[in-house]
């Protein structure tokens, strides 16, 4: 039986880790697998067309049992139950203890003089209320080696390793935003340094990595009723069984050995505790499915503006707290929308609480020049004094944001003064989105627009989440990504996970699995996200095609459709000025030379827009692409050639990609036959009769007149006839 084989296979794995896992896993297996076990035989009866999960995979994989364990709570380890602050920290410490060669656990920062010259103590990074510093994990190969950073207190700083920051849980109620980082951590911890593993027990190794596609077709071989495991309506999409299930262990090992990963799974410890313990409770999905506590726990009661934290005081939910993801300094505080970000709330029990309060205004003279707030953080020298962003209006007022800011700014392994974090990721809930800067302005492109977009689309593909620029969702100021991108030029993405703040526990695992590829992608591109986007776009474009003339079907009448197949990640703009089919109809010159080659009329190029008919097409590399279609309007009577080429613009137009590739040909040429009816037989016969009468009849007439000596002179006017007669005589 397949099941016994695969369970013994997992036994070996567990034995190899010297952990008696089976005792813990078996009851879990029975309980969690129960619904699946019930479904499976039912569908198996009418599933002659497809297979059941355990026909293909190991029982563990078929029931989404993760191979790690066992120290800690099995339900939490298996992502069937949420971590809380304490268990999460404990699990991180456990893992760090088990894998000291590449994991190093930290809490907060040690402090010292930070990048802005402020003397900081470690306590300043602890939450206002519960006083926990944010736990974080430094992940890199030989993490004990490298340089020691005496501010951040971490080892394993290597100047030649790109750094990447992955941050979970800015917003307390968004619980999936610390579960996904934990799954990432478990995955890294378990698979690092291992030889290629058959993760799903199908006998193949590393056959289906993270890309959102069922590369090996195992999901597709399931019975169709089982192909949408996560119930998102997409068969064999991300998060479904058999999709991206057998990634490369070597890839994980390589990533860890060549990057420094700063994983902060739970930034807002205060908020999480308050949400889980007070505001919604431990079973928040029941009473707070799409609500809950968002902010941190700054005490806004005293003055409403700059309160001193008072741990004795109970949290006042109608006005306490700062929205951490509005508290970063870049373009901080610009009033947006109707939420009044500068105003925390009314502080009476039923009064409105401002969930997006961005923290108090900073009235300090930060640079000591006697002026206040004369140069806020926007990357420009607002007061033209030669310094940039030196006297800010506010932001970074909270322990959590200070922690992020100082961790970023004090981590300069290569000493170049710039942030080492070339890529940064933050997890949020919910909406199933991939967002990138800007958030603070609408309809504003940034210099890396299409590169950001490229990676965003890539991650959108991995997750089937909708990629978009952050402000296209709604404008925000002072968020994590605007600050990282705006101040430190880091490619920064926000994942909006799932469909609720508090997802049901049974959904944790598959939602987390669905999001697992994204952090690995961010880690991978951390070396040079811009260059990777350029290369990626170029590779992408090389698999895209414009329909060749031999494949074009010229309809018997009407417009001529030309299609184009685009990679789904290609950040094309639908703006007709940048993305369009260029075409011209060339017909033989009517004043043709009699002896040379055919001469063609020079005509200008026309543009036709591309539309998305919503069909799929197959790219040159065999993967699926998005079909675009353009229509060339041409009268049916036209005879000649259509020359056409496609010009693709990405969002900011820096890449005018042309198809066909200009190295080989400038355009395609499609012969257009005469398509209209040739004419009416009757009318043609009449015309023939007319022409024949005129020409042949005329010839006959003249010939007859020629030899008819009696006929006289044709057309001779009467008054002239005597003259002729006289001359004839």
């Amino acid at each position: 039986m397949a099941s016994s084989n695969s369970s013994s296979a997992s036994d070996e794995v567990f034995r190899a880790r010297r952990i008696p896992a089976i005792a813990l896993i078996l009851p879990l297996l029975l309980s969690v697998a129960a619904p699946i076990a019930m479904v499976t035989p039912v569908s198996a009866q009418d599933a002659e067309s497809g297979l059941a999960p355990d026909d293909i995979w190991s029982d563990d994989y078929a029931n989404q049992i993760f191979p790690w364990g066992p120290h800690g709570d099995v339900e939490k380890l298996q992502f069937r139950e949420y971590y809380d602050y304490f268990t999460l920290k404990e699990r991180m410490q456990t893992l760090a203890a088990y894998y000291p060669e590449f994991l190093q656990f930290h809490e907060g920062l040690l402090g010292g003089v930070n990048a802005r010259g402020d003397e900081m103590s470690s306590t300043e990074y602890e939450g206002w209320y519960y006083n926990h510093p944010s736990p974080w994990m430094k992940i890199t190969g030989n993490v004990q080696g490298g340089e020691y950073n005496d501010y951040n207190n971490d080892d394993g700083n290597y100047a030649d390793r790109p750094d990447v920051m992955l941050v979970g849980n800015h917003h307390a109620r968004e619980w999936m935003s610390f579960e996904v980082p934990m799954l990432f951590l478990e995955t890294v911890a378990y698979y690092y340094g291992k030889a290629a593993i058959d993760n799903d027990g199908d006998g193949l190794v590393d056959e289906d990595g993270w890309d959102g596609i069922d590369n090996d077709g195992d999901c597709l071989s399931l019975d169709t009723s089982l192909q949408d495991y996560n119930g998102d309506g997409i068969a064999c999409g991300p998060g479904d069984l058999g999709v991206d299930e057998d990634f490369s262990e070597q890839f994980i090992t390589d990533m860890v050995n060549t990057r420094e990963i700063y994983l902060i799974p739970m930034l807002n410890t205060d908020g999480v505790r308050y949400d889980m313990e007070e505001y919604c409770g431990p079973t928040a999905w029941e009473n707070c499915y799409r609500s809950g506590w968002r902010k941190n726990l700054r005490d806004n009661t005293v003055t409403g503006v700059t309160p001193l934290p008072d741990t004795d005081e109970q949290v006042d939910p109608s006005c306490d707290g700062v929205d951490l993801n509005r508290n970063y300094q870049f373009e901080w505080g610009a009033p947006l929308g109707a939420t009044g970000p500068l105003f925390p709330g009314m502080c009476y029990s039923s009064g409105p609480n401002n969930d997006v309060y961005n923290g108090p205004v900073n009235y300090e003279d930060n640079d000591g020049d006697g002026l206040v707030n004369e140069d806020h953080v926007d990357g420009k020298d607002d007061d033209a004094d030669g310094q940039i962003d030196e006297d800010w209006m506010g932001g970074n007022s909270e322990p959590e944001t200070k922690f992020i800011q100082d961790l970023t700014e004090m981590n300069d392994d290569d000493g170049d003064g710039a942030s080492d974090f070339k890529s940064t990721l933050t997890w949020h809930s919910y909406s199933e989105l991939v967002l990138w800067p800007w958030g603070h302005c609408t309809n504003c492109d940034n210099p890396d627009q299409e590169f950001l977009e490229y990676h965003g689309y890539k991650m959108g593909d991995m997750t089937e989440y909708a990629p978009m620029q952050s402000s296209d969702l709604y404008p925000t100021t002072g968020d994590f990504c605007d600050w990282h991108y705006g101040v430190h030029n880091s490619y920064c993405y926000t994942m909006e996970i799932g469909n609720a703040f508090h997802e049901y526990p049974e959904d944790i695992a598959h939602i987390a699995v669905r999001n697992l590829g994204v952090p690995f992608y961010m880690v991978e591109i951390a070396d040079d996200p811009r260059y990777r986007a350029i290369v990626g776009i170029e590779n992408t474009t090389s698999t895209q095609w414009l329909q060749e003339p031999s494949n074009v079907t010229v309809p018997s009448k009407g417009d001529i459709p030309i299609s184009m197949c685009l990679d789904t990640t290609f950040p094309f703009t639908p703006d007709i000025n940048r993305t369009h089919l260029m075409w011209r109809f060339v017909e033989p010159n009517r004043q043709q030379n009699d002896y040379g080659p055919t001469e063609w009329v020079n005509v200008a190029w026309s543009m036709s827009p591309f539309m998305e008919p919503g069909e799929q097409c197959v790219l040159l590399d065999g993967s699926n692409g998005t079909m675009l279609e353009s229509h060339i309007p041409l009268p049916d009577t036209s005879v000649g050639k259509i020359q056409y080429k496609a010009k693709l613009g990405t969002v900011n137009g820096a890449f005018p990609f042309t198809y066909p590739d200009s190295d080989t040909a400038n355009y395609y040429e499609l012969s257009i036959p005469y398509r209209a009816p040739f004419g009416s037989g009757i009318l043609a016969l009449l015309m023939f009769a007319f022409i024949a009468t005129m020409v042949w009849g005329g010839l006959g007439f003249t010939l007859r007149a020629m030899f008819d000596d009696e006929g006289g002179v044709i057309g001779l006017p009467d008054d002239q006839s005597h003259l002729i007669d006289e001359e004839d005589i």
Partner: protein, 601 residues
């Protein structure tokens, strides 16, 4: 004495056949179907027919009238009708025709080659016509060989003068009619077999939008202008051999109608055959230039119904007809040149031999140089020949303009004479219309010999319609080049405007400059040098160049009232030249012509 007496056609049919032969050429067979295809089928036939009567017939009538009175070739005709100073116009006309002849002999050679290839079964359905064409064109020896054959046949045909030309033309033309009719029948069967007769339907269906496009009208005009060879001087040349009471107007109409009749037959043949066989017939018909003839048609005919014998017959007949059409045009081209030499006292055999050799040698570059391959299609084409056609093709328009000019000039002179006679001063349009504009028609067209009396409409066409049509043609030609040719002003661009203007300018400049030294006078070297050296060194004197008119016995063709008519050295063939002449300084000097002739006598 160049010629003992006058030379003339034996009868009216002879003249008609000769002129029809001249008019019908490859243009009817390969240019006309292409024009029909490119200009909307039946829509094209409308302007084509209209311009037959607006351009071709009136101009041919003028040519006949001019030649019948001047009784000389083009140079003499302009010397007489436009005056001494404008004799170069005749040389231009002759040159354009001859320059076209240089490469036309090559084209005739192609046709003959294709005929013999067809006869030998080399154009069957199994051959790749592109390969046949490229192999042939890229083999200069072969091309030159068939060019030589074309020139030789032409030379033999005109060696003996008008009567021989007549006989050859009658034979060739009748064969051509029969061959074309047979081919038409086969094509009709082909087109009918697929059940639609779509070639016929397309050719005779008017597509209204095409009638609204100026190109259709311009192409109808240009097809009419070239196809009948109106303005080429051919009619002038052949009218030299007219009998004294020959008709000039009905002949012109007959000739043009016959030409268009053949166009329709050839056009129908090609259209029906192509539509029956080719998937995209209009692209095939309207696309290529000579390609349709040598690439498409052999393929098409190879698919004719009735098996290999009929297919062989069809392709053979077609190329034989094409060869005949080309040869008769070749004959008129050479004769036009020869006639001018004979007019100026050179023996006919000498003139024929010299002209033929010149046509052969000057045609060699067109035959064998710059044979390129079109990148787009892989089809070879002769670029030198193409450039020649590009340059000289539209020169024909100026020949027509010059003919109109002589008519305008004659009308103006007659008006001035009338004013003097009636002692009237000051311009009056009505008087000018009554006594000037109509005078050419009154004096030279409606002479009483004609079967067709020409009304005032002819004056309107010559005075108003012609300049208008001429301008439209020339302007549209240049506008087209400006629009569709890259770097049209680059003189090294073989398809550009500059190269045309350059060659036209040099030719016209040379002819105008040498008018006095070569055309109406001749150089008598005083130092014993040959005349070109004498001309350069200045050691020469000028004496009038004698012009011998070919006036049939009994025909009265007085030229006294014409601008160049009082020249004593324009004499009828057989007459003696004056012994002396008055030079430009007023001195009376002996003319060398009479002494030479005396010696010869």
């Amino acid at each position: 004495m160049a010629e003992g007496g006058s030379d003339e056609f034996s009868g009216r049919l002879g003249l008609i056949f000769a002129t029809i032969g001249a008019a019908i050429g490859t243009g009817n067979i390969w240019r006309f179907p292409r024009m029909v295809g490119a200009n909307g089928g039946g829509s094209f036939l409308v302007p084509w027919l209209i311009f037959l009567f607006l351009w071709s017939v009136p101009l041919i009538i003028a040519e006949f009238a001019l030649g019948k009175r001047s009784r000389t070739g083009t140079v003499g005709t302009f010397r007489i009708f436009a005056g001494k100073r404008f004799a170069w116009m005749g040389l231009w006309t002759a040159w354009i025709s001859t320059a076209i002849g240089f490469y036309y002999a090559v084209v005739t050679g192609w046709c003959i080659n294709y005929f013999q290839t067809a006869v030998r079964g080399g154009l069957g359905s199994e051959v790749d016509t592109v390969e046949v064409w490229n192999t042939f064109l890229q083999n200069p020896m072969e091309v030159v060989f068939f060019q030589a054959i074309a020139v030789a046949i032409t030379m033999l045909a005109i060696w003996k003068g008008a009567k021989a030309i007549e006989k050859v033309n009658v034979g060739l033309m009748i064969s051509l009619f029969i061959l074309l009719f047979a081919a038409l029948f086969l094509a009709f069967v082909m087109d009918l077999e697929d059940g639609t007769l779509d070639g016929f339907v397309y050719m005779f269906s008017i597509q209204p939008e095409y009638l609204a496009q100026p190109e259709t009208w311009i192409n109808g005009l240009s097809q009419s202008a070239w196809s009948c060879s109106a303005g080429m001087g051919m009619a002038i040349t052949y009218s030299v051999y007219m009998r004294k009471d020959e008709d000039t107007t009905l002949n012109a109409a007959t000739m043009c109608l016959a030409n268009n009749s053949i166009s329709i037959i050839a056009g129908l043949t090609v259209m029906m055959a192509v539509f029956a066989v080719v998937d995209d017939p209009l692209a095939a018909v309207s696309g290529g230039s000579s390609a349709i003839t040598f690439l498409v048609l052999p393929e098409v005919f190879a698919q004719a119904p009735g098996g290999p014998v009929v297919q062989l017959a069809m392709v053979t007949m077609f190329f034989l007809a094409l060869s005949f059409a080309a040869l008769t045009s070749m004959i008129s081209t050479v004769e036009l040149c020869v006639r001018n030499f004979v007019d100026h006292g050179i023996e006919r055999p000498q003139a024929v031999g010299f002209t033929s050799l010149a046509i052969f040698f000057f045609g060699l570059p067109s035959a064998a140089t710059w044979i390129l391959v079109d990148d787009a299609t892989g089809v070879a084409f002769p670029q030198f020949l193409e450039v020649q056609d590009h340059i000289w093709g539209y020169g024909l328009m100026f020949s027509g303009l010059f003919i109109a000019y002589s008519i305008w000039k004659y009308g103006w002179n007659r008006y001035r004479v009338w004013q003097e006679e009636n002692d009237i001063s000051g311009f009056s349009l009505q008087d000018y219309l009554d006594n000037g504009v109509s005078s050419f028609r009154d004096d030279f067209i409606n002479t009483g010999d004609n079967d067709w009396w020409i009304g005032k409409w002819w004056d309107y066409i010559m005075y108003l319609g012609f300049p208008l049509m001429f301008s439209v043609l020339i302007l549209s030609y240049f506008a087209d080049m400006l629009a569709n040719v890259d770097n049209p002003w680059d003189p090294t661009n073989a398809n550009g405007i500059s190269i045309i203007l350059l060659f036209w300018g040099i030719t016209a400049g040379l002819f105008i400059g040498l008018n006095r030294f070569i055309i109406i006078n001749r150089i008598v070297p005083t130092s014993g040098n040959p005349w070109p050296l004498a001309l350069l060194s200045g050691n020469f004197t000028l004496e009038p160049r004698p012009l011998y008119r070919n006036v049939p016995e009994g025909a009265e063709a007085p030229i006294d009232t014409l601008p160049g008519g009082e020249d004593p050295f324009i004499v009828e063939a057989g007459e003696e030249l004056p012994e002396t002449f008055v030079d430009e300084y007023g001195e009376t000097r002996p003319h060398t012509g009479s002494s030479i002739e005396a010696e010869l006598a």
